[in-house]
Amino acid sequence: METGNVLHLLSAYLFCLGLLALLLRRNTLIMLMGIELMLNAVNLSFVTFSRELNQLNGQLQVFFVITLAAAESAIGLSILVNIYRNFGSIKTDRTTSLRG
């Protein structure tokens, strides 16, 4: 397996890890990390593809993704603070008042 495929597998693997974090952990902070992990997995796959296609374009997109990930985590944390103030905890098992 040349490195390209290994790296693809690695990025897919990281992506699934992030998704699993989102699924299994109830702590919103960990879920936030999960999303960040998924975004970084995407960066990795971008880089590997651009290396395979030996174009610079792929790597260029990584910067956009990074900035967006940053913006996203900023907003995510502020929502987290808001949840803590209202629910007194950041566990998602509390946040089920909207239902039906």
Binding site: L22, F64, T95
Partner: protein, 493 residues
């Protein structure tokens, strides 16, 4: 060192500047709004003035442009054509409407003044979403739109529901967009380009009959992305909770604005990639999946809407049902190969936006003080206490149900037309049944408003906000006039 060699960018032609005018004006206005909003006392008014002024200006500018031959900036990153003009026009109108809508309501509900600039930023993201052919630009605009809306949703500091809605929308939205992004990388990897038309050519070149697995995988992941945003079946769970949690003008903004942009994205991707000949037809499995998704969206939307007694949650499910109808058009466009379906989707989404905006304008005026939700029984006796509002709400609801004199009927008929022409008779019949069931809960408010006596509890003094009243009037006239003269809203593209 001149500017040129510091930033060696090739200057844009006048036409390109002209095309980007709405984006720029609205962006600048939103930034200005952001700057002025912390001013004590007058901050709110200034923010509203700047954002709505910007929106109005770009609206007028846009209406003077004509995009017979599309204008592309940075070869495809921004691509302005007839469909982007139509969608941007409606998006700007909706944003303007929502700003007008919130005047007065935000003061009473103590929403921060940044409400308007955030709507402005989200609108910029939407316009970017509908007028770009570059996958990464699509992703960025999608994120810009969503981030602004995440904040809008969780804006009411003291309400737990808003916080919870914000959290749900943020986490699920984040997951969905990363899945979308992963799809983008796969497409990039297999075709080597991110620009849609180039991608389509090289994709066709790639396979002579056999669609490469990675490409199909990428397509599925992208499909998940926009299906989430549109609220289709497996990815719809967030819709009711977020729409109920958010405050009414924000929900109005999401229901008409965000949904519209998502449909624009779906239409763009559908027309450019999914409708590629040989793609979905050959992929029997994928088209089956799509029809199952459509069917289930219809069923969930209409059935669950029936059992609600919270008006906003009921309307949330009704949008899911409408997504079902739109997916029906999408199926006709992609699987059925009906080019006319694109036009049906466009006109249906425009009518849909008008109906829902009007509906939420009325709900804002009727929403009880504080953040407790508007229940069906709160509407009792509205027919007598506020006859005009009751009449307006009835017209909007009947239009959603598709009763003829209103625009909703024509939209539904046009969609059914393209769906049947593409051979999906069974799905159309299911859509007909779903609209009967959804008619059941559309007339529930009618029954309550006209046939029940208002309960003895003191009904909140109904606010006289000029902005919301104006929006109700305009949307009401539009719904009825478009119903009578549908020629204006057909064949937009």
């Amino acid at each position: 060192m001149s500017f040129q060699d510091l930033f060696p960018v090739d200057s844009l032609s006048v036409l390109q500047w002209q095309a980007m005018f709405p984006l720029l004006v609205l962006g600048a206005a939103s930034v200005l709004g952001l700057l002025v909003s912390p001013i004590p006392r007058a901050g709110r008014a200034f923010a509203f003035a700047s954002v709505s002024g910007g929106a109005l200006l770009s609206l007028i500018g846009l209406s003077f442009m004509s995009f017979q031959d599309p204008v592309s900036v940075l070869d495809g990153v921004l691509y302005f054509d007839r469909s982007s003009q139509v969608f941007s026009f409606v998006i700007l109108a909706v944003t303007l409407g929502c700003c007008l809508l919130s005047v007065g309501f935000d003061k009473r509900e103590h929403l921060v003044a940044e409400l308007y600039p955030l709507m402005g930023f989200s609108a910029v993201g939407m316009i970017g979403l509908v007028s770009s052919r570059h996958l990464m630009m699509l992703f960025i605009s999608l994120e810009l739109m969503s981030l602004a809306v995440y904040v809008l949703v969780s804006m009411q500091r003291r309400s737990a529901e808003a916080a919870e809605a914000g959290l749900k929308y943020f986490l699920l939205g984040g997951a969905a967009s990363s899945v979308f992004l992963f799809g983008v990388t796969l497409l990039y990897g297999t075709t080597g380009t991110l620009e849609l038309s180039a991608l389509a050519q090289s994709a066709q070149g790639l396979w002579q009959g056999q669609v490469p697995l990675l490409f199909a995988l990428g397509l599925c992941l992208i499909a998940v992305g926009f299906l989430f945003k549109v609220g289709a079946f497996p990815f719809h769970s967030w819709v009711p909770d977020v729409y109920t949690g958010a405050s009414t003008p924000v929900t109005g903004f999401m229901i008409s604005g965000v949904k519209l942009a998502a449909v624009g994205l779906m239409l763009r991707l559908g027309a450019e990639i999914f409708a590629l000949p040989g793609l979905l037809e050959s992929h029997g499995a994928l088209s089956q999946v799509l029809s199952v998704v459509t069917a289930l969206t219809l069923i969930v939307g209409s059935l669950l809407g029936l059992v609600q007694n919270n008006v906003k949650r009921m309307l949330a499910y009704s949008t899911i049902a409408h997504t079902g109808y739109l997916l029906l058009g999408f199926m006709a466009l992609t699987v059925g190969g009906q080019a006319a379906a694109a036009d049906a989707i466009a006109s249906y989404s425009v009518i849909y936006a008008v109906m829902n905006l009007g509906c939420f304008a009325v709900l804002t005026l009727v929403n009880p003080e504080g953040h407790d939700d508007l229940m069906l029984k709160d509407l009792a006796g509205l027919g007598r206490s506020r006859p005009v509002l009751a009449f307006a709400l009835s017209v909007f609801l009947l239009s959603m149900a598709g009763i003829p004199p209103t625009a909703g009927f024509f939209g539904k008929y046009y969609l059914f037309l393209s769906a049947v022409s593409s051979g999906h008779i069974a799905l159309t019949v299911l859509a007909a049944l779903a609209s009967v069931v959804s008619a059941a809960f559309y007339i529930k408010p009618l029954v309550v408003m006209y046939m029940d006596q208002p309960q003895d509890g003191v009904s909140a003094p109904s606010p006289r906000w000029f902005g919301a009243g104006l929006v109700v009037a305009i949307t009401l006239v539009l719904t009825v006039v478009l119903g009578m003269l549908p020629a204006w809203v057909s064949h937009l593209l």
